[in-house]
Amino acid sequence: MSGENGYDGYRGPALAKLQEYEAMVWSDVTVATTKGEFAGLILPRNEMADPEHIVLKMITGYNVGLHVGGIEAITIHGRKVANYKIPEKEFPFTEGLPRVKLLGTGGTIASRLDYRTGAVIPAFSPGELYGSVPELADICNLETEKLYGVFSENMGHEQWIGLAEAIGKEIAKGVDGIVVGHGTDTMHHTAAALSFMVQDSPVPIVMVGSQRSSDRPSSDAAINLINATRTAATSDMAEVMVCMFGPTSDQYGLLHQGTRVRKMHSSYRSTFRTLSDIPLGMVDVAGVTPFKDDYNPRRDDTDVKINAVFDDRVSLVYYYPGMKPDIVDSLVDNGYRGIVIAGTGLGHVNRPLYAALDRAHAAGVAMYMTVQTLWGFVQMFVYETGREIMELGVTPAANMLPEVAYVKLGWALGQTSDLDEVKRIMLTPISRDITEREPHNGYLVLQGGIPEVEAFMSGQWK
């Protein structure tokens, strides 16, 4: 058992050694070792680290680990407990500024150190946010509410429903815009869910996060939050959007449609991209610049349709060559009601899967085809394979992104078990989840090394 009685994270021999001298975490000590004396504060230890070292913060601020085997004595001089807290300041109210609600779900937009795991954990309070990003007060009157405190991988359909309902309540109260703080890993899943569950919003709903946690001086958290808040407060686009860095430079944020956005890089700040379309617009200190004019404009009313349902007996199957039919069979056997396939090319799977798809169809499972190329439409007429698969009851889902189709299918099955109705819902565009046209500049992935690309990049902010 670790972490007991003020020995946070220590276990085994290290815990025994500290207990021998009653040297609890945060004790100011001198440790006599076979190598000489070390003075400093005893820090908590990461639970996943070995049980043989004691961590000391020296007067210089550096931390060192001392092996218990070499420790001869510990002398305690006092105690200094870390008080890791962003100075909280009450968010000021400015007459005439828009009213924005920030809903927190977690993620690194606001985070602090977690000694238990050695990683960062989310922290969130309006006062903390104002304390660290005072610029927000120039943009709006901000209210905040912490709905969840989880990393984005732990966001699921229950949280999507809770979030959609919370947004509905805020809109009914008459806020001018909503910002949702969210971890970035599954931000596009949540963005898709909100796009379906919250329809005809009169105000912008802006999702935001950060790729560099806010405990780093170079963090993108503050700028993202400022951009998102500005968009929620002032934008005319009453859409569900993701607001994250355009380039990696501190230049501008891009506003991505919630159903067309995807996280495309594991670590870049500019990780979010709009696929098969252009972003809705951009935002910087000067304000919001829309790229299109066919968005849902902001309205003065407080009407909004909240349809927060979800059936989680849906799966997303990423096809690979040689996939065996048992993958599909096991889903059917386990009572899944919907399957989205991310197929190859225009939307294909191999022949050995056919029988399994046929069985799934017979069992009443709703099946939709998307493309693992991510960009482009499904087109199942071009090759014989595609036609055969459609015969087996798999419906092409146009240019819906695989994750978006997954979310939409769960949402559709949450509303009805009538497969024709499900199909009607799936194929009816709700929020650009399916578009009629793919513009040529909806697929723009520049390749380095090409002379003209290199020349272009040297004149632009990366």
């Binding site: 550096y62 931390n63 806010s214 780093r216 001086p217 170079s218 963090s219 990366k462």
Partner: protein, 635 residues
């Protein structure tokens, strides 16, 4: 009798120039100097990514990145003062990137990879050479730098060892710690609110050796720095050349404050910098005494600044006129209690006013000089009439200093606050600062001295346990330290002068390897080898690898009697074998017989007369034999 090194700022006498003080004067002042010596490690890769180390791009870039920095909390929950100061500067930071030398890690767009194991081992070896106690577990910390010199806003760094020492000129100099860290960017421009960095050396592995403040004269600081540098080079594990080694010098006097002087270009510059900083602290402490005497306190210095743009609007002083006509705001800051102090010399050609000017330049980014003027300065600026009006608006009498700054409205606001901050600091004495060394041996304000609050554990990388078995292996083959080299040479009988030259010479490794091959009583003795290696007139191969075989073969021939040391000294390749004894005697007699008959035999200098003989036979006949024969002939 104690030496009087006190100073009266109200007299304003010139300061003693460097070179006029003896150690006794520095001792009376309570001078303490410590060093932070940085040295790049010789590795193939950078410390936390797989980019090549050691590429240098003088110019050109493939792409540019723009960033801003914001202060964050330390592990203990404090903001670091330096970070808050840097945030006030509102700097826009540009990074110039070249594809060859930078990946997404240096751009702060990817997490770190594991620490380069080669760099870590090399840092451990140097730590052992400094007799440091190695930590058992390495904890990587983030040391905040909001100046933008590292795109993450922090430097990854870890302590390898603490509590070491080196012997130096009969004393022991304490080594506080050695850390391994990633190098920062090179600044290429800093103007207004814009700072530009080049990223080629960013992320290269570096060791920082920190001494205790054990040096007490300017010269001692330089010689210890030299010794540390030599020790690092003796390891053979560090880079040499321009920019591979840099040092910071920490200076304080009794009652003063530890001041870190950065950007010291060469060891030669250290003594003058130390001397001038000691004097600056002496002046600031003397100013403090006057302020205390006048009852000036931090609380009594209040913001009584006034916007005086209208007053100077029509000024004849063209410099100000230009700025005002371009829309600059002008503010006046009266400093009651500072009468007679603003022009106090603090360093050669430098007065107290520069302390204010520096702050305004660095923090408010008003960097066109002059950026501040004072009513009590003798320099011609505003007219007496304008000054009178300003004094009146500020509500002070003539003689009370009023500082005037101008520029962009926001910057002027910052500048006014910085002037007040610096004035309040004067009450405390010597503010804790990092200062920039200047070419003339003085220094200028760079930033507030950062403290422990800027440290934060790196959550991206787990601690690294130091492998004891491996350190034992490394210790067994640790390179000799310079003082051990000296001891080894002394024992081998190498002359002191030669030893001092060889100890820091690239030929040392060759010497150390060849020494055991020299046979006791052989013709080539250690001193002979040392002088051969250091002989500049007849350079011989010195590179340990390339030259190895040549030296081995030569020493083997010497030992076998197939070669005379003199032949090696002459150095005519291929090195000739000695002549057989009878043939040698015949050649000797032939040469003597051919000497001009009228050559008078000089009784006092028989050898001189026979120089042609020596010239022809040296290296072919043992020197002792030749000497005996010439003696016989001269007799």
């Amino acid at each position: 009798m104690t030496l009087d090194v006190s100073y009266d700022p109200l007299q304003g006498n010139p300061l003693p120039v460097y070179g006029t003080w003896t150690p006794a004067e520095y001792e009376a002042l309570g001078l303490m100097v410590g060093l932070e010596v940085h040295q790049q490690l010789q590795t193939r890769r950078k410390l936390f990514c797989r980019c090549p180390a050691g590429l240098f791009h003088a110019e050109g870039h493939d792409v540019e990145i723009l960033r801003h920095m914001r202060p964050t909390l330390s592990e203990m929950g404090d903001y670091d003062g330096t970070a808050l100061m840097e945030f006030k500067t509102r700097k826009e930071i540009h990074y110039l990137l070249k594809n060859e030398s930078v990946c997404t890690y240096e751009m702060d767009d990817a997490p770190p990879f594991e620490m380069d194991p080669v760099a870590l081992e090399r840092a451990i070896v140097v730590s052992m050479m400094l007799d440091l106690q190695l930590v058992d577990e390495l904890h990587i910390a983030r040391k905040q730098y909001l100046d933008g010199s590292i795109p993450t806003g922090f430097q990854r760094t870890a302590i390898i060892g603490v509590h070491g020492s080196i012997p130096h000129e009969g004393r022991t100099i304490g080594i506080r710690q050695l850390s391994i860290e990633e190098d920062s960017c090179r600044e290429v421009a800093d103007k207004g609110h814009l700072r530009v960095y080049r990223t080629d050396r960013l992320g290269m592995p570096l060791i920082e050796t920190v001494t205790e403040p054990d040096m007490h004269t300017p010269e001692e600081a330089a010689s210890v720095c030299e010794a540390l540098r030599r020790l690092a080079r003796a390891s053979g594990l560090v880079r040499t050349g321009v920019g591979a080694g840099r040092e910071d010098v920490n200076v304080s006097i009794r009652g003063g404050t530890r001041i870190e002087i950065k950007g010291v270009s060469s060891i030669k510059a250290i003594p003058r910098l130390v001397h001038n900083e000691a004097l600056r602290q002496r002046s600031l402490l003397a100013i403090r005494e006057v302020l205390h005497g006048r009852g000036v306190t931090v609380e009594s210095i209040v913001d009584a600044s006034q916007d005086v743009t209208q007053i100077v609007h029509g000024t004849d002083w063209r410099y100000m006129q230009k700025h005002v006509s371009q829309g600059a705001r002008v503010a006046a800051v009266p400093l009651a209690g500072f009468e007679g102090l603003i022009n106090t010399p603090t360093q050669p050609h430098t007065r107290f006013l520069k302390e204010f000017s520096d702050r305004v330049r660095v923090v408010a980014c008003i960097d066109l000089l002059p950026n501040i003027i004072c009513s009590t300065s003798e320099t011609e600026t505003l007219s007496g009439f304008e000054w009178e009006k300003i004094e009146k608006v500020c509500g002070v009498d003539h003689g009370t200093p009023v500082m005037v700054v101008w520029g962009d409205e926001r910057d002027v606001k910052t500048a006014v606050q910085e002037i007040l901050i610096r004035a309040r600091d004067a009450v405390a004495g010597v503010p804790e600062e990092t200062r920039q060394s200047l070419p003339d041996g003085t220094n200028g304000f760079e930033r507030i001295l950062p403290g422990a609050s800027r440290m934060y554990p790196d959550t991206d990388l787990p601690p690294i346990v130091i492998d004891n078995a491996r350190t034992t292996e490394l210790r067994a083959c640790m390179p000799l330290r310079p003082w051990e080299r000296m001891a080894m040479m002394r024992e081998a009988g190498v002359g002191e002068d030669l030893a001092r030259r060889l100890v820091k010479h690239q030929a040392w490794n060759l010497f150390a390897r060849l020494l055991p091959r020299l046979k006791p009583g052989g013709s080539l003795i250690p001193t002979g080898l040392a002088s051969l290696l250091l002989d500049r007139d007849a350079p011989r191969p010195l590179n340990e690898v390339a030259a190895g075989e040549w030296w081995d073969a030569t020493i083997d021939r010497l030992a076998a009697g197939d070669l005379l040391v003199d032949a090696v000294v002459i150095g005519d390749e291929p090195l000739p074998s000695p002549l057989p004894a009878d043939e040698a005697r015949i050649r000797f007699e032939t040469i003597v017989a051919d000497l001009p008959a009228d050559l008078p035999a000089d009784a006092r200098r028989p050898r001189a007369a026979l120089r042609p003989v020596m010239k022809e036979l040296r290296g072919l006949v043992p020197g002792a034999t030749l000497a005996r024969w010439t003696e016989e002939v001269s007799a």
